[in-house]
């Protein structure tokens, strides 16, 4: 009698085991991701200052957030930064990928050079570019020492132009990665299609414009999703390169959230800015991930 009972228990255990193995991860995700999101959303409706309080103030924080000039600067900066970053990275990435695809000698040597910045921390990137772009010791001084006496490059000290320094450093860091994505796409294109078009008399320009680039659509989509997600999250690079300055001129939502929550003791407003950031990213990621998962099924 006991033998079948234990066997039965063992099969039942085997049935449950996979779910038991997955359960802790799922529980942790539910709590630390979705639970925490819910909590931050909740806080964004409260008058929390230095510590969480649970006095509900409705949409007050959001109203105050969007009335703050500081937040407007952050939003304006992320719009400028994200669009330039995405467009320039994609353009450079596409160009380098197409060029590297032309039976280039030394491709195996160049590719890793284009891509290594991706392995670095944004803090390292920020440090290197911060001093290189600094007029006192960097590019401006170098050019003048080389004989171009009138050369001026003070963007990083300029309220209106410092944001472009962040674009330069960010493009330096990720454009090689976008190149790798496009190159993988190019290598996946069937050469027969190109040959057929060539026989029909298409020029190289037409070939790329009409056939190759349209076929890279999936790579464009992936690049867009990844770059926009990186742009909205960009915190470290701003901190290392400009510290949000000069003044507040390079403040971004990520730095705004941090300073309002942890140094200015305006937790409610900080939480509401985090919610806005999440909603922006979700608007891009959710449809993308949904489509990817459906496709895979």
């Amino acid at each position: 009698m006991t033998a079948p009972a234990t066997a039965d228990f063992r099969t039942r255990l085997q049935d449950w085991l996979p779910k038991m193995v997955l359960a802790p991860s799922f529980a942790v995700t539910l709590l630390f991701v979705y639970g925490f999101i819910a909590f931050t959303v909740l806080l964004s409706f409260t008058g929390s200052k230095m510590l969480p309080k649970y006095d509900f103030v409705g949409l007050d924080n959001y109203r105050r957030l969007f009335a703050l000039e500081h937040w407007h600067i952050a939003i304006g900066n992320i719009a400028v930064f994200a669009s330039l970053y995405i467009v320039i990275c994609s353009a450079i990435g596409l160009m380098l990928a197409i060029f590297l695809d032309q039976k280039i000698r030394g491709e195996g040597f160049l590719r890793p050079i284009f891509l290594y910045p991706m392995a670095l921390s944004f803090i390292v990137t920020g440090t290197a570019w911060k001093w290189f772009l600094d007029p006192g010791i960097g590019l401006e001084k170098v050019m003048r020492l080389w004989g171009w006496e009138s050369f001026t490059f003070t963007w990083i000290k300029d309220n209106d132009l410092a944001i472009y320094c962040i674009v330069i450093a960010a493009v330096w860091q990720t454009s090689g990665f976008v190149m790798a994505m496009f190159l993988a796409g190019l290598r996946g294109i069937d050469n027969e299609i190109l040959k057929a078009a060539q026989i029909d008399g298409a020029s190289n320009w037409q070939l790329y414009r009409r056939i190759v680039i349209p076929m890279l659509r999936p790579a464009f989509l992936s690049a867009f999703v990844i770059l926009s997600h990186l742009a909205i999250k960009s915190y470290d690079l701003v901190v290392a390169l400009t510290g949000g300055g000069p003044g507040r001129s390079t403040e971004m939502p990520a730095t705004f959230m941090y300073s309002y929550t942890f140094t200015r003791n305006q937790m409610g407003i900080g939480a509401s800015s985090a919610v806005i950031m999440l909603m922006t990213i979700a608007a891009i990621m959710v449809p993308y991930l949904y489509a990817e998962l459906k496709e895979k099924k």
């Binding site: 039976k103 330096w172 950031m277």
Partner: protein
């Protein structure tokens, strides 16, 4: 895999080719520039930077800046150099990478070989967690770490990195195991092999490549993280936070050569990984764009 046969059928004229090589050369210089600037200037005495040309090679070669960055530079208020923070980073990275990779492997195994109703949803929810802006979890995380007594400690950082890393590691192993024939698993099951035995004997021996991808990805991400380190590091700050403190410190003379040496020290581990296993690094990046 020969690169030649993969190349495009497009052919180009001589002038076009010359231009292409020129552009590639210019971009090579652009990408190497910061590395050159950091390397060269970390080997100069400070006077050669403030009084000389940043692009010039050192006249006096010296490792003083490196020594200072490593063991004597002022980080925050303590003149400890970056050494203790480097150790913090190591103590944080090794367990966090190990745990998240093992958990990811098991999750990927369950999600592909022991499928159940709703598994795609479970995976989808875990996957989305890779892409959230971490600002949304900072406040509750700070509170929870405080409650657990882990605030400002290395174990606290390990917990954070494992929690927000398993989405990616699960993604890697899931995509990899999906291509593994399920029939083999079923056959082993009929032969009486259990859940862990099948994983240990059948899946694990073929998991080498994806484990490397996962380890490299996690190592790079966790080593390079700044936001969590700055928020929850407390007295156990990782390397990135210490480097930022070193560079941003407003007191005293700005020792650019020490900053550059420190930056290289912070970059060295991930750069080494990239040089040794760049191929896997690229694969991890690509899989990060979800398409495996």
């Amino acid at each position: 895999m020969s690169a030649q046969s993969q190349d495009t059928a497009v052919s180009t004229g001589r002038i076009t080719r010359a231009l292409i090589y020129l552009v590639l050369l210019l971009f090579t210089l652009f990408y190497l520039l910061p590395l050159y600037v950091m390397g060269v200037n970390s080997l100069k005495p400070l006077a050669e930077i403030t009084g000389g040309n940043m692009m010039a090679l050192p006249q006096i070669w010296t490792f003083d800046a490196w020594r200072s960055a490593w063991s004597t530079a002022q980080i925050g208020i303590e003149p400890t150099g970056l050494k203790p923070y480097f150790l913090n980073s190591i103590l944080m990275v090794v367990p966090a990478v190990t745990i998240s990779t093992i958990v990811g492997a098991l999750n990927g195994y369950v999600l592909t070989k022991w499928r159940f109703r709703g598994d795609t949803w479970v995976f989808g929810l875990m996957l989305f967690s890779c892409f959230i802006p971490f600002q949304i979890v900072l406040i509750p995380m700070a509170m929870v770490l405080g409650k657990l007594g882990l605030a400002g400690s290395v174990p606290g950082l390990i917990l954070v990195h494992v929690v927000y890393g398993i989405g990616f590691t699960t993604l890697y192993f899931r995509n990899y195991y999906a291509a593994f024939p399920t029939e083999l698993v079923r056959a082993a099951q009929i032969d009486g092999a259990g859940f862990f035995r099948i994983f240990w004997r059948i899946l694990l021996p073929v998991s080498g490549p994806i484990a490397v991808v996962s380890v490299i990805w996690q190592f790079t991400n966790i080593w390079n993280d700044f936001l969590f380190g700055a928020s929850f590091g407390g007295t156990s700050q990782p390397m990135t936070v210490a480097l930022n403190n070193l560079v941003q410190s407003s007191t005293g003379v700005k020792e650019y050569n020490v900053h550059f040496a420190g930056a290289i020290l912070a970059a060295l581990p991930t750069l080494l990984v990239y040089i040794v296993a760049g191929r896997y690094f690229v694969r991890g990046l690509m899989a990060g764009s979800v398409k495996g």
